[in-house]
């Protein structure tokens, strides 16, 4: 049976090799400072006490006042799992976080999906493009303040053609 790391134990173990990178921990989760994420992930993958060689899932949640990027990690040799989170875009500012593609290639499409649908930038991603929607699509649909196309037609017909294109090159 896979053993899940508890948040406090993982926070302690991370602090031991990367001091000052943990923001808080609770339950089974650890919140890391976004600027430390790629360095800590490199350690989580390579260090003998973790060996998190598989990035199971990478996703993001919109909590209105901030976004949360969620990493689910699995260690095949240790048969262990852990959850690492990071708060970005505090106060709904421009959200960005370092990419972990250099650590796990499995993050490639998942980070592109988060950028496409949630609008969080991944600094250093080798191919930072939209994946599901086309370039120039207005907004990022999984954000909670996203106004769907249909609603914009119903409520404000004049605005339907001038929806702001935010965050796109």
């Amino acid at each position: 049976m896979t053993t899940a790391w508890s948040g406090s134990a993982l926070a302690e173990a991370i602090e031991a090799f990367a001091p000052g990178s943990v923001e808080s921990s609770a339950g089974g989760d650890v919140w890391l400072k976004p600027e430390c994420i790629s360095g800590v992930c490199e350690g989580l993958k390579t260090r003998d006490e973790f060996k998190f060689d598989l990035l199971s899932s990478l996703t993001a949640v919109d909590f209105i006042d901030h976004f949360e990027v969620v990493y689910h990690l699995t260690s095949l040799p240790m048969n262990a799992s852990a959850v690492v989170k990071s708060r970005v875009g505090l106060g709904r500012t421009d959200a960005s976080i370092p990419s972990v593609v250099s650590v796990w290639r499995g993050a490639d499409y998942q980070e592109r999906e988060v950028w496409d649908l949630m609008g969080i930038r991944f600094e250093g991603h080798p191919n930072h493009k939209r994946i599901m929607l086309w370039e120039g699509y207005p907004g990022h649909p999984l954000r909670k303040d996203y106004v769907t196309y249909d609603q914009s037609i119903v409520s404000a017909p004049d605005d339907a053609v001038t929806v702001a294109i935010e965050g796109d090159e």
């Binding site: 199971s56 899932s57 996703t59 689910h72 799992s81 499995g106 998942q110 994946i131 599901m132 929607l133």
Partner: protein
């Protein structure tokens, strides 16, 4: 003297019979050799994750059917496990056995479809695919008996399944399992030792286990490289601890190994179903509505549950704010993530191997784009 060639860019798909749905690739060829591949997704994107934020937990079951539409039962199972984990629901034993039977049948159907279409891509037009689809048809008939639907089943509910199997289902299941073994024997007799299959699939698109793990690739693709990683064994969910099955591994990690692992896994699924039939006991198929109401309001928090789907780790991440619908739902889609190494598999290969390699990944566009 070598003839000088000029690279040519060719668009493949989204409407192409070999792309297993609406997948599109921009491929650059130098003669017969592939020099660059760019996959383009999104032609079947329906925004399922956004739709889920507007629906109740039970209604979302119907959305999961439409993700990987050749393994609906497995999608149901992954989603229901996430809901049960989030809301702390204790499932009914009979419901759990029934959903294990249903999802193992679905795994066989999915592996048969993958095998049939792989051989279709190899140029074995018709016959192997029709053998595989004929058997899948029988499995769909069984689904029709237990839930009334064939493809979009929506059979599972938080805490179990929505109705018990009729009495005539059990003899039909016994006959069905014998037919499945016979079909697999037939397929293997013609194909597993076939010289043409060997020459086309052995040694093509070889990937190292380290690279596969680094790219988050799971399921039959990972087991075909010799890594013993099956969530049914390493992180048992439902009652998988109570059934015995072998993990079939192959070490070659080429297209043939991926085909072989799928066929052997279908055989193992038959063994699992037989053990489920032995161990299933009478009782309710889901908790009463007093214990699990129709409108579930899980406490605020999040939960991630993953199962061994037909294509790999299939996970659902649910965030609740205490309301009747999830605040956020994310699907860890194995079909999409298994394509991460598509470039590595194809570049340097021949044009003729392109669709064979693509078929051996076994993807479903409903799950890639969601």
């Amino acid at each position: 003297m070598a003839i000088k060639t000029q690279p040519v860019t060719v668009n493949l798909g989204p409407q192409h019979p070999s792309t297993h749905g609406v997948f599109r690739m921009r491929v650059m060829f130098d003669g017969e050799e592939i020099v660059d591949v760019e996959p383009i997704f999104g032609y079947l994107h329906r925004g399922s994750e956004k739709l889920a934020e507007e629906r109740t937990y039970t209604q979302i079951v119907t959305l999961t059917d439409r993700m990987d539409y050749v393994s609906s039962m497995l999608n149901n199972q992954a989603y229901i496990l996430a809901v049960e984990k989030l809301a702390g629901i204790e499932p009914s034993p009979r419901g759990v056995w029934l959903r294990m039977i249903a999802s193992e049948l679905q795994r066989i159907a999915s592996h048969l479809v993958a095998t049939g279409f792989l051989l279709q891509d190899l140029g074995a037009l018709g016959t192997p695919l029709i053998y595989a689809m004929r058997e899948r048809e029988n499995i769909l008939d069984l689904f029709e008996m237990i839930c009334g639907a064939r493809i979009t089943n929506s059979y599972l509910r938080p805490g179990g399944v929505f109705m018990d199997a009729p009495t005539e289902f059990w003899p039909a299941l016994d006959r069905g399992l014998d037919d499945i073994i016979r079909t697999i024997d037939e397929l293997e007799a013609y194909l597993s030792g076939n010289e043409i299959v060997f020459s086309r699939t052995k040694g093509t698109a070889v990937l190292s286990p380290e690279l596969l793990i680094n790219a988050s690739i799971t399921g039959p693709m990972l087991r075909a490289s010799g890594v013993d990683w099956d969530l049914r064994h390493r992180a048992p969910y439902d009652y998988y601890e109570r059934v015995a099955f072998e993990r079939k591994l192959h070490t070659a990690s080429d297209n043939y190994a991926r085909y072989w692992v799928r066929v052997q896994e279908a055989r193992e699924s038959v063994k699992i179903i037989k053990q489920c039939i032995e161990q299933i006991e009478p009782g309710p198929v889901r908790p009463s509505f007093d214990d699990v109401p129709r409108l579930i309001r899980p406490p605020a928090g999040d939960a991630y549950a993953a199962i061994e789907g037909s294509k790999g780790e299939l996970g659902f991440y649910l965030v609740s704010d205490g309301g009747i619908s999830p605040y956020r739902m994310h699907v860890r889609a194995s079909s999409l993530i298994n394509l991460t190494l598509l470039r590595d598999m194809l570049i340097g290969g021949q044009f003729g191997d392109l669709f064979v390699t693509f078929g051996s990944v076994d993807l479903n566009m409903g799950e890639v784009d969601r």
